[in-house]
């Protein structure tokens, strides 16, 4: 199958240093030349050269982090999905994390415009010793009619397998004809953000500290909780992207200062 955009990345460890050992891209996907963060983490930016996602587009991203390697990946800009009159946009991502690896994925928000239909399926296969950071957020695009939710349907599925066993299954679907504003749904908000961090040192006590830390400066509508494996899920509802980004940045900083003992990744945007 030919994709609108296809990307394959592989990171390996060579003489104590993580390097991008292989990269393939085709269609509208490109990557920046890898840079190194202050912590010697290779950082790659994903670039979509087509400007936005349109009717019937298909995307596949595959990232393989080999033994001991670390990799940080971000998007260059937000993902914009436009109208899909005939066929929805499908985006798949497959991440494979071998033993003692780190993958940090920071995605810019998905902006869904009028009549957009988009499905994203992310599958992660990781070793128990690996760690994984992931953000995902959905923003309704501007529409000239002033509709709060101009899109038709946005679906995002995340499945994480640890040592072959399904441990996280997150399934979000935003369908404006199902009264998204009501209680239990978006509760008067328009934006949703999710953050996952899986690491062997995440405990109930660590999450309590994170909760106290976030509560000290933020009273937005969010929740954090321990997953079935050592790891945390944060979910936030907001009326603006900047609030979600602020919380994500705070969690990232907390993670890096308490667990990695280093400053947060500077994503260089």
């Amino acid at each position: 199958m030919t994709y609108t955009g296809h990307l394959q990345l592989e990171a390996s460890e060579r003489y104590g240093k993580s390097v991008l050992s292989d990269a393939y891209y085709n269609g509208v996907f490109k990557i920046s030349r890898p840079t190194y963060t202050d912590e010697n983490l290779p950082l790659v930016q994903l670039i979509h050269v087509g400007g936005g996602y349109v009717d019937g587009d298909t995307y596949l991203t595959e990232i393989h982090v080999k033994n001991m390697a670390k990799l940080a990946v971000t998007t260059q800009a937000s993902t914009k999905v436009y109208k899909t009159p005939h066929k929805q946009v499908m985006q798949r991502a497959l991440y494979k994390l071998e033993a003692n690896t780190e993958l940090h994925m920071k995605q810019d928000p998905l902006i869904a415009y009028k009549d957009a239909r988009f499905t994203q399926e992310t599958e992660v296969h990781m070793d128990q010793s690996a760690s994984f950071f992931f953000t995902d957020s959905v923003t309704p695009g501007w529409s000239k009619e002033g509709t709060l939710f101009p899109f038709t349907c946005i679906t995002s599925k995340l499945k994480v397998y640890q040592n072959g066993r399904l441990v996280i299954f997150d399934h979000l679907r935003l369908k404006p004809d199902e009264d998204l504003m009501q209680l239990l749904q978006l509760e008067g908000n328009t934006h949703v953000g999710s953050l996952f961090f899986i690491h062997s040192e995440v405990t109930v006590e660590w999450i309590q500290k994170l909760r106290d830390y976030l509560a000290s400066f933020c009273d937005d509508q969010y929740g954090v909780s321990l997953l079935q494996i050592p790891g945390v899920c944060l979910r936030i509802l907001a009326k603006r992207t900047s609030l979600i980004e602020k919380i994500f940045a705070a969690v990232e900083e907390f993670i890096h200062s308490t667990i990695y003992n280093r400053s947060a990744i500077s994503w260089r945007k």
């Binding site: 499945k159 066993r165 399904l166 441990v167 996280i168 299954f169 997150d170 399934h171 979000l172 679907r173 009501q182 209680l183 239990l184 749904q185 978006l186 509760e187 949703v192 109930v204 909760r211 509508q221 969010y222 929740g223 954090v224 909780s225 321990l226 997953l227 079935q228 899920c233 979910r235 936030i236 509802l237």
Partner: protein, 230 residues
């Protein structure tokens, strides 16, 4: 097991007094009581309706249907996968653990009351820590075993879910006993509608979450004074 009247076991399992432990869990609804969103019979009923139309439709109810269909073709592997998926869907620790405890207890009690080979297998999978236990599967297994139809199984499970949440609201909001029972009458058309919707869902729709509810379930961990474990 010869069953001349399948109504009795269904009534038994749907009884909010059934000792599954569901009376100790609000599944996040106590957060709404605590912050004043639920403060009356009307406001509780609204939340219950949305809970049933979302959490029950896409997750618990659909899981019950899919488990029943797995049993119809003798595919037990499908049941264990559903059990694992249900556990993996739980983003809030208390709710996930609550479902597991209730599910585990429900399997143990019901498998003693209505023993059959599928329950033997379920107990074995539980013992091997391959699965966690979930009430959706118990309703499917016992119903299939007793020759109760799929729709009836899902309807009973939906009514049991509603009834247990109403009993908890009577204690937690609090509401009058009669008010609580009145809600169980008023939501009957909705329950019928919900079962019809579940029958038409596609398998790919399994597990669609309600973000606000999930946040309420997570926030419950930080509530100071609480009546419920989730």
């Amino acid at each position: 097991m010869a069953m001349t009247n399948a109504l009795f076991p269904i009534l038994q399992l749907s009884d909010s007094q059934f000792p599954s432990g569901a009376f100790s869990h609000s599944f996040g609804l106590e957060t709404y009581i605590s912050n004043g969103t639920i403060n009356s019979s009307a406001s509780f009923r609204k939340v219950l309706e949305i809970f049933l139309a979302n959490q029950f439709v896409y997750t618990d109810g659909l899981a019950c249907r899919l488990a029943y269909e797995g049993l119809e073709i003798g595919n037990l592997e499908q049941l264990w996968q559903l059990d694992q998926s249900l556990y993996a869907l739980g983003m809030a620790r208390e709710t996930r653990e609550g479902n597991r405890r209730i599910g585990d207890r429900f399997v143990k009690i019901v498998s003693t009351l209505y023993p059959n080979q599928v329950f033997d297998q379920y107990n074995m999978e539980l013992k091997n820590k391959n699965v966690f236990g979930h009430s959706a599967l118990v309703f499917a297994i016992v119903s299939k075993h007793l020759g109760i139809e799929r729709e009836t199984a899902i309807s009973s499970y939906g009514f049991a879910t509603a009834s247990s949440l109403v009993q908890n609201a009577v204690r937690g909001v609090p509401l009058g006993q009669t008010e609580g029972q009145k809600i169980l009458v008023d939501i009957q058309p909705l329950l019928t509608d919900i079962v019809n919707r579940i029958m038409l869902l596609d398998e790919t729709e399994f597990g669609i979450g309600a973000p606000g509810l999930e946040i309420a379930q997570m926030q419950h961990e930080a509530i100071d004074v609480r009546l419920f474990m989730s």
